[in-house]
Symmetry: C2
Subunit: 348 residues, 2 copies
């Protein structure tokens, strides 16, 4: 089956999606019968093009590399903004991979609303709408009768949400705990190797893991956003960002404390967790010492992990990439293939 895609945003993730489709579109067609065709791309900075017959992903990337934007890319339609693209592009699926704003939801919130209103299927890696208005999004998708996937909002393409939704659906997930921020986990790993907090931060900034203002990572806000998404969509309990208990993140961990944990057979981690008890959710992102035998303790560097606590199966932990261009773009591909299967099954 052919799925026509409108890419809203052509930054790191959007380009990553185009790269994967250029490299292995043929493989997806032959292995899964999934013909994934980009028919529109729109980006605030890079311009917009649309062609109902399909835009060649490699040509898009080559053009971008040569010209710095898409404004002169040959296509029958040009210059549509995001909302116009969602309304007018010939697309089955809106792929929302624009800028993330977890405080307001950002423009992405409007993009998703419009996509559902137009009856389009949606894939997003954008945490904004899923932190700010997860139930509105889930309900809008349900009312529209469309498929909606957002695997890439937590731990990039590592199958966390899909595994909870499918493989674990027979049991009750009563809570989870995770290492959900790669930047801080990288820094903690380096601090265990002898660096101070300040040195580890400088290195993370040099490597591009941490931003100039690192507070979103080091204080725990980024991880808290993921806690909100998992709590609402996997634990199925309402939780807002401001309800997640935060403290000083990893900012006050000293070399002496790191040493002390080591001697006690423990390790500092920024633990993001939530648990439901008597219908009440308690959620937090706090630096904690955990025993080395805990599967989360072995998660080093920028790798992430989450342990789902279940009634019938006990703890189930998934460890994998927490971020990265191709890893996050993979989340989109994985969601698109899942939507493709669902639509094929609907047709039988």
């Amino acid at each position: 089956m052919q799925l026509k895609l409108a890419l809203i945003g052509f930054g790191v993730v959007g380009q990553g999606v185009a790269k994967i489709l250029g490299d292995r579109g043929e493989f997806f067609r032959s292995r899964y019968g999934a013909d994934l065709v980009i028919t529109a791309v729109t980006d605030v900075k890079k311009g917009a093009v649309a062609d109902p017959k399909g835009l060649n992903p490699k040509a898009l990337l080559d053009h971008l590399e040569q010209h710095g934007d898409l404004t002169t890319f040959p296509a029958p339609e040009r210059g549509w903004d995001a909302l116009t693209t969602i309304q007018r592009a010939e697309a089955d699926v809106v792929v929302e991979v624009s800028w993330t704003d977890v405080k307001t939801g950002g423009a992405a919130l409007g993009h998703l609303r419009e996509a559902f209103a137009c009856g389009k299927h949606v894939v997003t890696t954008n945490k904004g709408p899923m932190v700010v208005a997860p139930w509105e999004m889930l309900e809008a998708a349900g009312r529209a009768g469309v498929e909606f996937r957002f695997e890439g909002t937590v731990m990039s393409g590592t199958p966390v949400i899909s595994t909870a939704w499918r493989g674990l659906r027979g049991c009750e997930i009563t809570g989870f705990s995770g290492v959900l921020n790669g930047t801080t986990n990288f820094m903690l790993t380096r601090m265990e190797e002898g660096l101070t907090y300040e040195q580890a931060l400088a290195e993370a900034q040099r490597l591009g893991y941490a931003e100039a203002d690192p507070s979103g990572d080091v204080l725990g806000w980024d991880a808290a956003g993921k806690v909100v998404i998992l709590t609402n969509t996997v634990l199925r309990c309402p939780l807002k960002l401001e309800e997640v208990q935060l403290a000083t993140g990893i900012t006050e961990i000293t070399p002496a404390q790191v040493e002390e944990a080591k001697r006690a057979g423990q390790r500092w981690k920024l633990v993001a967790q939530a648990a439901v008890e008597d219908g009440q959710v308690r959620a937090s992102v706090l630096a904690k010492r955990i025993p080395l035998a805990d599967p989360l303790a072995g998660v080093m560097g920028p790798t992430n992990a989450v342990t789902f606590h279940t009634d019938l199966l006990g703890p189930v932990t998934i460890v994998g990439a927490g971020a990265g261009q191709k890893e996050t773009a993979f989340a989109v591909i994985s969601d698109l293939l899942d939507i493709h299967s669902a639509l094929v099954a609907r047709q039988r």
Copy 2:
């Protein structure tokens, strides 16, 4: 949608399935619309009953506890053997949970063949048929146009095969390495705590983890069976049990070697792995020293884990229960809910 189930085997796993259905059948109906009804049970030792209107799972378990078998359980049909049950029971799904024989496939091989021939969907936790004849089984299911799931053959209900098939399908899985035998991993954990091999084995036998003849576990044959299943069904490469490289398993690991690994920041694990290179599979189950930073190193006691090596996403590790009654019964439930979704989607 209602799914009528014929349970072939009513031992530990079959009773576990009945227990879960008794406890939360109502939950599966209300949450997923899945009405899972046992219409037949057959067991070589415990007798057989069938009722197209459904057998009450709690009543079956109570009767078994009081009478030791099902021969006097009130039902319109009684005494059918496995093949007759598969042929004549009013069932949509054959749940094969009888004795496992990984050398010949055992009676289960015939049960699955008959189920596919009768056009029934199949769920099994039985490694036998999937070690001896995985391609025959997959192809028979495909020809019959029925759903076929076998999550419980590897790491009980921990979602390993379903995650590889779904969440990871957009990337290429080039190999895997795992800790796939709980008994040996428990023993290695105890040996690291100071026991000799012999003491650890005696304890494992006392706790019921290891059998009187422990060779299937300690030499690696059990793990090798799981390597065969994952290689054939996830890596999609043909591999036979006798092609898996085995040595002395964990039987020759000495306390001195355990200490030496500890000092080097490493840990002994019975590593089950397979990799595809240039279309060739290399598979082995060997005791190895692995660095503590490897996610498999942190897997202690009877817990199991597998790391899938992928091209786009890097390594993805799933850690969870390797065995256990409710954990393996959960695999059946999880597979049944998955088949239920697939059938609901077909109807739309």
